[in-house]
Symmetry: C2
Subunit: 816 residues, 2 copies
C-alpha cells in the first residue's frame, strides 16, 4: 500500500499544473511539519469537487503539498469507513484517485441514479406498454442504448479507479458488467429487428438501481435477506414436507368423493393444500368433504394448526432470531471497520516529530477535505470536542470518536430563553403571556377537546350525509369554525414559542401541515376546485393529534418515524422484487386474461362480465377479476400487490393457469414464497427495532428523556485569537471573518468565553453502542489483538487503544 512518494506522476492537474512534480528533499523542510513516514500513497492530488481544495492549492510549498495529499487520503479513508466501503477498493495511485474523486460526488451519483431509473421506467413504454405512454420501438430502444452507454461510461470510470484486478474481484460490479453486456446485445437486436422479442432479461435491470450509491440501504436489505435465507429454506422444506404428506393423505381420504374437486388428483391436492397454506381457499376447500362427513374437518384443522399456526410462526421465529444475530454482527463489523478507517487516517495525520497526536492544523486540513462545507468555528469546536485530554494534540484514543462528533451541529448557547427576550418591555410581556398560555396544560387539553369534538362532528356529519351531495358550493360553517380555532392556535404557538422552536418539534410540524392542508381544502371548497376536493377529506387526520396524550403512542409514533427510512428502503427492496416479477409476468401473461375468459376453470365466475336483462332492468354481472392482469407494468404491480396480500390470490392464479399451462402456477407459488420471505423479514425488522427500543428505554428508565446527543463546549477569547492567527498564516481571509464576528460578540457582552452546543439526533448506532456496552470492549480488544500483527501502529496509540470507550458512554448526554 505504502508506495514510494516519487513513483507516480499525476494525471489530472487541472488547477495546479505549475507545481513541480518531484517532491522537495525531505531535509529542506521544517521538520516539525513533516508528515509521518507511514504516509500517503499518491503524489499530487487535486479535488475538482471540493471548493476548499481549490482555495488551498495555490501554496507552492512542496511539504504543504504533501500534507494536502495526506489530508485528502485521510478524508477518503474516513469516508470509506463511514460508507462501509472495503479498503481494497481504496484508490492506489494518483490516476485512480482522480477517477475515485470523479466517481464520488453527488453529480456522478445522480447520473448513476437517473440512468438506472430511466432504464427501469423504459418498461412503461416498451410493449406491452401503458397505453398513454407507448413509444415506438425505435424511440425506446435508442433511449435504452443511450442509457446503457452512460452505464458503460460509469463502469469505465470505476475500472480506472479500482484497477483491472480489483474490478474483476468486485463481485457486484462483475455481475453488473455481465448484465450490461446482455442488455446491450438485446437492445441492438431489438433495434435491428424492429420488434421486441421475449426479453425476460429486462428483469435484471434493477441491478443498475441496486448498484447506485444512493441505494446502499437496499443493498444491505438484500444482503440481510440472503443471509436469512438458509434457515428460512430449512423451515420452508419442513413446511412443504408436511404439505406433501397431507396432500397424499388428503388424496386418499377425499378423492373417492366425486363432488370434491379439490382433491380429485394428487396435483390438485398439492395445489389446494399450498393455497390452503395461505388460508386463501379455506372454508371452501373443506366444504365438499365436510358436507359428506363432518369429521373430515379434523384433517383441515390439524393441517392448519401444524402448518399455519405452528410452522409458519416457527419460520418467523427463526428469521427473527437470525435477523437479530445478523444485526449484531453487522453492527460489530461496521464498528470495527470505522475503527480501522480511523487508524488509517490517523497514521496519515501525525508528524514524525510528534507521533503522539494530531495538531489542530492537520485536523483542520483533514476536515477541509472531509467536510468542505463546515465553517472554521465548527472545525475548531469539533477538534475541542474530540480532545478529551485538553492537550494541543489529539491522540488516537480521542480520534476514535471522530464519527460520533463530526455529525454534531454547533450553535452558540443563547443566554436568552425566548426569542422575544430582546424586545421592548410591553411586547415582551405580551409574548411572555402567550408563551405561558401556550405551554399551560389547560390550553393543551382545551385543544385536545376541540380536536375530539371536531372528530365526532366529522363522524356525525358524514353519517348524516348518506349519499347526498358532498361537495356543495357553500362551505359548512363548522369547517370554518374549527379551522379558525386551529388557525388561532397555530398563531399563538408560533408567536409564543418562536417560529424556529415551534417547527423544531415533529408534532408541531404535523399540526402545522395538517392545518395548512385544511386551509387549502377550504380554499378548494370556496373556489369550487374539484381536483383538490380530496384535501377536504384529509381533515380527520387532525385527530391524530389526540395520540400525543398517551406516552405509549408517543413512543410508538416516534419509533415509527425513526423506522421510516429503513421501512422505506425495505419497501424499495420489495418494489425491486415486484419489478422482476412484473417483467416476467408481462412477458408470459400479458393479454392472457380478459372478460369472460377462463370458462374451463373453477373460478370462471370471477371473470364473468355479462349484461343481461331481468324484467325491464339491465343487470350487469361483473366479475372484475379480468382487471387483475399483467397487461402493462402498472397493472402488473397492482396484481402483484394483490398476490402479496394473498387473499383470493388463487383466483388470479387459476385464471391465468386455465388460459396458459399448469406450469404458470410455479410463477405464482414462487412469488408467494418470495414475498413471504420479504414480509417475514419486514415483520422481523419491525419486531427487532421495536423490542430493541423498548429494551433500551427500559435500560435507561432512570436517565434523561431522549433528546438526541448533546455536547457542550466552551471557547475562550484567546483560543479564537489563536485560530485567527493560524488562519492568517495559511489561508484566505474569508475563513476568519466568522471568527472575528465571535470576538465582536464576546466584546459586546463583555464575556471572556462563549458556550457552544453541539447537537444531533440519536441514531440506531448510538443505541446499539449503549446496548452492547460490555461486548464492545471485548470486540475492540479482540480486534486490536488481530490488528497488531497486521498494521504496526504508533506505540503510544496502540497503548491507549485498549482503554477506550465510545463517546456516548463518556459524555453523559445532557438535556437542554
Amino acid at each position: 500500500m505504502a508506495v514510494s512518494m516519487d513513483d507516480d506522476v499525476p494525471l489530472i492537474l487541472t488547477l495546479d499544473e505549475s507545481v513541480s512534480n518531484a517532491s522537495a528533499p525531505l531535509d529542506n523542510l521544517d521538520r516539525d511539519e513533516l508528515p509521518n513516514e507511514n504516509g500517503g500513497s499518491y503524489d499530487i492530488i487535486n479535488d475538482p469537487t471540493s471548493p476548499a481544495a481549490g482555495d488551498c492549492c495555490v501554496q507552492q510549498n512542496s511539504a504543504q503539498h504533501n500534507w494536502e495529499m495526506n489530508y485528502q487520503e485521510a478524508a477518503i479513508y474516513l469516508q470509506e469507513g463511514e460508507n462501509n466501503d472495503k479498503f481494497f477498493t481504496h484508490p492506489k495511485n494518483a490516476k485512480a484517485l482522480a477517477a475515485y474523486l470523479f466517481a464520488h460526488n453527488h453529480l456522478f451519483y445522480l447520473m448513476e441514479l437517473s440512468t438506472a431509473l430511466l432504464l427501469l421506467l423504459l418498461s412503461l413504454c416498451e410493449a406491452p406498454a401503458v397505453p398513454m405512454l407507448r413509444l415506438g420501438i425505435f424511440v425506446h430502444a435508442t433511449l435504452e442504448l443511450f442509457a446503457l452507454i452512460v452505464v458503460v461510461f460509469e463502469l469505465s470510470m470505476k475500472m480506472r479507479w479500482l484497477g483491472f484486478h480489483t474490478f474483476i474481484r468486485h463481485k457486484r460490479t462483475m455481475v453488473k458488467t455481465c448484465v450490461l453486456f446482455v442488455q446491450f446485445i438485446e437492445a441492438i437486436v431489438v433495434l435491428v429487428r424492429q420488434t421486441s422479442h421475449v426479453r425476460i432479461t429486462r428483469a435484471l435491470r434493477c441491478i443498475f438501481l441496486v448498484d447506485c450509491r444512493y441505494c446502499g440501504a437496499v443493498r444491505r436489505n438484500l444482503r440481510q435477506i440472503f443471509q436469512s435465507l438458509p434457515p428460512f429454506i430449512d423451515i420452508l422444506l419442513l413446511l412443504l414436507f408436511f404439505m406433501v404428506i397431507f396432500a397424499i393423505l388428503g388424496f386418499y381420504l377425499f378423492s373417492p368423493n366425486h363432488s370434491d374437486p379439490y382433491f380429485s388428483t394428487l396435483e390438485n391436492s398439492l395445489v389446494n393444500l399450498f393455497v390452503l397454506l395461505t388460508t386463501s381457499n379455506f372454508p371452501d376447500v373443506m366444504m365438499p368433504s365436510y358436507a359428506r362427513n363432518p369429521w373430515s374437518c379434523v384433517f383441515f384443522i390439524v393441517y392448519l394448526s401444524i402448518e399455519l399456526y405452528f410452522i409458519m410462526n416457527l419460520l418467523l421465529a427463526v428469521v427473527f432470531d437470525t435477523f437479530n444475530d445478523i444485526e449484531k454482527r453487522k453492527f460489530k463489523s461496521l464498528l470495527l471497520h470505522k475503527r480501522t478507517a480511523i487508524q488509517h487516517a490517523y497514521r496519515l495525520l501525525i508528524t514524525r516529530q510528534r507521533p503522539s497526536g494530531i495538531s489542530f492544523k492537520h485536523f483542520e486540513g483533514l476536515l477541509r477535505f472531509y467536510k468542505p462545507r463546515m465553517c472554521t468555528r465548527e472545525r475548531y469546536l469539533t477538534f475541542k470536542a474530540l480532545n478529551q485530554s485538553n492537550t494541543p494534540l489529539l491522540s488516537l484514543k480521542d480520534f476514535y470518536n471522530f464519527y460520533e462528533v463530526v455529525g454534531l451541529k454547533w450553535k452558540a448557547k443563547r443566554n436568552r430563553e425566548h426569542w422575544f427576550d430582546d424586545l421592548p418591555r410591553t411586547a415582551f410581556l405580551i409574548f411572555k403571556g402567550i408563551n405561558i398560555l401556550v405551554n399551560s396544560r389547560v390550553f393543551q387539553y382545551t385543544m385536545y377537546t376541540v380536536v375530539a369534538v371536531n372528530g365526532i362532528w366529522i363522524l356525525v356529519e358524514t353519517f348524516m350525509l348518506q349519499g347526498g351531495n358532498f361537495f356543495s358550493r357553500n362551505v359548512p360553517w363548522s369547517y370554518i369554525v374549527f379551522l379558525t380555532i386551529y388557525g388561532v392556535e397555530l398563531l399563538l404557538k408560533t408567536t409564543g414559542l418562536g417560529p424556529i422552536e415551534y417547527l423544531s418539534s415533529g408534532w408541531n410540524l404535523f399540526d402545522f401541515s395538517v392545518t395548512l392542508f385544511a386551509f387549502l381544502g377550504l380554499m378548494a371548497l370556496a373556489f369550487n376546485m374539484e381536483p383538490f376536493y380530496f384535501i377536504v377529506v384529509l381533515r380527520p387526520l387532525q385527530l391524530l393529534r389526540l395520540f400525543k396524550l398517551k406516552e405509549r403512542y408517543r413512543n410508538v409514533l416516534d419509533t415509527m418515524f425513526e423506522l421510516f427510512p429503513r421501512m422505506a428502503s425495505l419497501g424499495l427492496t420489495l418494489l425491486i422484487f415486484y419489478y422482476c416479477f412484473a417483467i416476467v409476468g408481462m412477458e408470459f401473461f400479458a393479454g392472457v386474461v380478459y372478460p369472460n375468459c377462463c370458462n374451463t376453470s373453477t373460478v370462471a365466475d370471477s371473470y364473468r362480465w355479462v349484461n343481461h336483462t331481468v324484467g325491464n332492468k339491465t343487470v350487469v354481472e361483473e366479475g372484475y377479476y379480468y382487471l387483475n392482469n399483467f397487461d402493462n407494468i402498472l397493472n402488473s404491480f397492482v396484481t402483484l400487490f394483490e398476490l402479496t396480500v394473498v387473499n383470493d390470490w388463487y383466483i388470479i392464479m387459476e385464471g391465468v393457469t386455465s388460459e396458459t399451462t399448469h406450469w404458470s402456477r410455479l410463477y405464482f407459488m414462487i412469488f408467494y414464497i418470495v414475498t413471504m420471505v420479504v414480509m417475514t423479514i419486514i415483520v422481523a425488522f419491525i419486531l427487532e427495532a421495536f423490542v430493541f427500543r423498548m429494551n433500551y428505554t427500559r435500560k435507561n428508565q432512570d436517565s434523561e428523556e431522549d433528546n438526541g446527543i448533546v455536547l457542550e463546549k466552551e471557547i475562550s477569547k484567546e483560543e479564537v485569537i489563536g485560530i485567527i492567527e493560524l488562519y492568517k498564516r495559511t489561508s484566505a481571509a474569508s475563513d476568519t471573518a466568522q471568527l472575528q464576528k465571535i470576538i465582536l460578540q464576546m466584546d459586546k457582552y463583555g464575556q471572556m468565553s462563549m458556550l457552544f452546543l453541539g447537537r444531533r439526533s440519536r441514531t440506531k448506532s448510538d443505541l446499539s453502542m449503549k446496548m452492547y456496552e460490555e461486548e464492545i470492549q471485548e470486540w475492540y480488544e479482540e480486534h486490536s489483538r488481530k490488528e497488531e500483527s497486521q498494521i504496526p501502529l504508533q506505540e503510544s496509540a496502540s497503548a491507549s487503544q485498549s482503554s477506550l470507550k465510545p463517546l456516548s458512554l463518556r459524555h453523559r448526554s445532557q438535556t437542554v
Copy 2:
C-alpha cells in the same frame, strides 16, 4: 402464624385416636430431638392419603408426634412453593389442615375435573343439541343439578380449609361461587319450567374448568393474556382510529360510484374496512372503484400498508415485548416464592439444639410426606446431593436447591456398557457386532436412503393411482418390502442397543410407533378391515425420520416437543374462549342459516343450494356455507375455527347478519379481536420460546450437548449400614429391604461403594436460571433484604444465603 402448640385440638383422628391430645412437657424429651421454636401451627396431624403417614403414626411418643406434624407442615410449604400457591391460603389449624389434605389429592382433583367436564359436555345434550346426543330436559337438568351440587361440596371443603375470611378474599373462588349460584338458580328454573330459556350464562361454565387444579397452565395463560391486554388495546385503538379515518375518506371518495356496494354508506364503509383489515375481502372490495379509476388502488394500498403491514406487526411487537417482560417477572416471582417456601420449611425442620441445619432423620421425615412414593435409597441420595458441605447437617444454603434435586431419578451407575455384557462369549460377540452395525454411519445413512426411496415410491405410486381403486385386497408388494426392511431395522436396533436404551430416545420411539402403525395398516389391508384403512395413509410419516439428518431440524423438533405442553395449554385456553363464544352463538344464531337463505345479502351465492337440469344432466349448485352454522356446539366449534382462520369469514358474518340484525356483526367482530389477541399471544409465545432457546444454545455453544440435568453421587457401604441402623430404630423393616439389597450387591462385586446417577430432563426453569444468572443474584439479595425485616431467620442461615448460587451452576452437568 406461629400459633402456640397447645392451642388447637385435632378434629380428625381417624387412625390415631389413642394418642393423647396434650403434648408432653418439653423438658421430658431428648433435647436433641426438639423441634425448633419457630415450629408448626397445628397440633396433631394425620394424612389419610399418604401411606407413609399411616405407617408411622403408631409411635406414641409425643415428641415424635410433634415432629410428624412439623414434617407435614414443611411438606405443605414446599408443595405450596412448587405450585405457586400463595401462603395466605396455608392451612392455619388442624381443622383447616384436614380439609386441606382432603382437597389436595388426586382423587379430589379428578372429581373437580370430571364435574367441570360434565358441566361443559352438557351443552352437547342441551337444546340445540347434537342430534345423536339429545337428552330430555329433565335428564340434562338433573345431571346439571347433580354436578352443581358436587361443586358446592368442593367449595365447602375449600371454605373449611381456607376459613371464611380467606375464602372471601380469594377472588377466583368468589367468582366461582357467584357463577355457581346463578347456574343453580337457572338449572332449577329450567327444571321447573321444563323448557330451556336463553341461557347465555352457560358460557360461564368454563370457570369451573379453569379453577381445576389440573388447569393451572390455563390459568397462567389467561393471566398472561390479561396482563398483555393494556398495551394491546392501546395499539388496537390506533388501528381502529386509522380505520375510522379511512372509512370516512373511503365514503367520500367512493360513494358517488353507485356500482360500488362496499362504500355506499358510512356503516358499510366501516364494516368493509374492518373486514379488509383481515384481508378477507381484499381484491373484491377494491374492484368496483378500480374498474372506474385505476388510481383508486392507492387508497387500498396505503390502507393495507399502514394497517396490515405496519400497525398489525406493531401489535405483535408490543405483545411480544410485554410477553417477554412478563415471562421474566413471572420467573422471578416464582423463584422467590419457592425460596420463601424453602425458608418456611427449613425453620420447621431444624432443632433447637442444632439450629445450623437439618439432619437426615428429619429430612427423611419431610420426604415421607412430600414424596411418599420415594424409596429410602432415593431419599438418602437426595439428601447427599443437597449436602454440598458433606457435614451431617443440611444448611439452608444447601436446602435452597431442594426443588432442583428432588426431581432427580436415581439409578445405580452400571459398570457394563451394554445390556449383553453378561451374556456368554458367542452371544456377546453377535450382539456386539449388531451394536457396532447399528451405531455405524453406513447403517444410518442406508436407512435414510431407504426411507427417502420409500417416500418417492409412495409419491409416484399415489400419482399413478389417479382415481383408481385405492384399497384393493391384494397388498402391494412394495409395502411389504419396505415394511420388512423397517421391521429388520427395528429388530436389529432393539437387540443391538437393548430395548430400554432403544426406547429411551424420542426418535426411536417415533420410529417404533410408525413401524407398528404400518404393520397394523398391513394387517388392515390383508384382512380388508375398512375402518382401519386410514392407518395405511399414515405411511408417509416415516419420512419425518429424514429430518434427523440436519441439526437445525433436530433443534426445531426438539423445541417443538418441549413447547408441546405449553402449546396444549394455550390450545385449551383458546378452546375455552371458543366455548364461551359457541354458547353465545348458539343462543342467538342457532338455526338462522339454512340452504338458500340470505337472499337479501351480497353473499347469497355462497348459501345457494339448487338442483337444476341442464340438458339431461342434473347439476347441483351447492354453496355449502349453510353448513357453517351455530346449530349445535360441534358445528359452532367448526364455524368458530373458520372464523379464526379469518379467510372468507365475512361470508359467514354477512349470512347471519342478513337473517338477524346489524348488531350480529358485533359478535363476529369481537370474536375476531379476541382470537387476534390469543393468536398474537401464541405467536409471541412461540417466538419467545424459540428465541430464548436459541440464545441459550448460543450462550452454551462450547459446553456439552443438552442431555438434561445429571448428577453423580457415591454411597459407601458404611453409609448404607448407618441408614439401615437408623431405620431399624424408627420404622418398619420394609423400608430397609432395598438397602440390604444394595449391600448384597456391593458384596457380590466386592465394592466398598457404589455410584448412583440422578437424572431429569431440563426444564424451562433451568434454562432461565442459566440465562438470568447475573440477575438472579441481584433478586436474591434484594429479596433477602426485604425478608430480613419480615421473617427472622437463623443467623447462620441468613449469612450463608447471600453467597448462594443455583444448583445448575455449581454442578456442571455431565454427559453420561
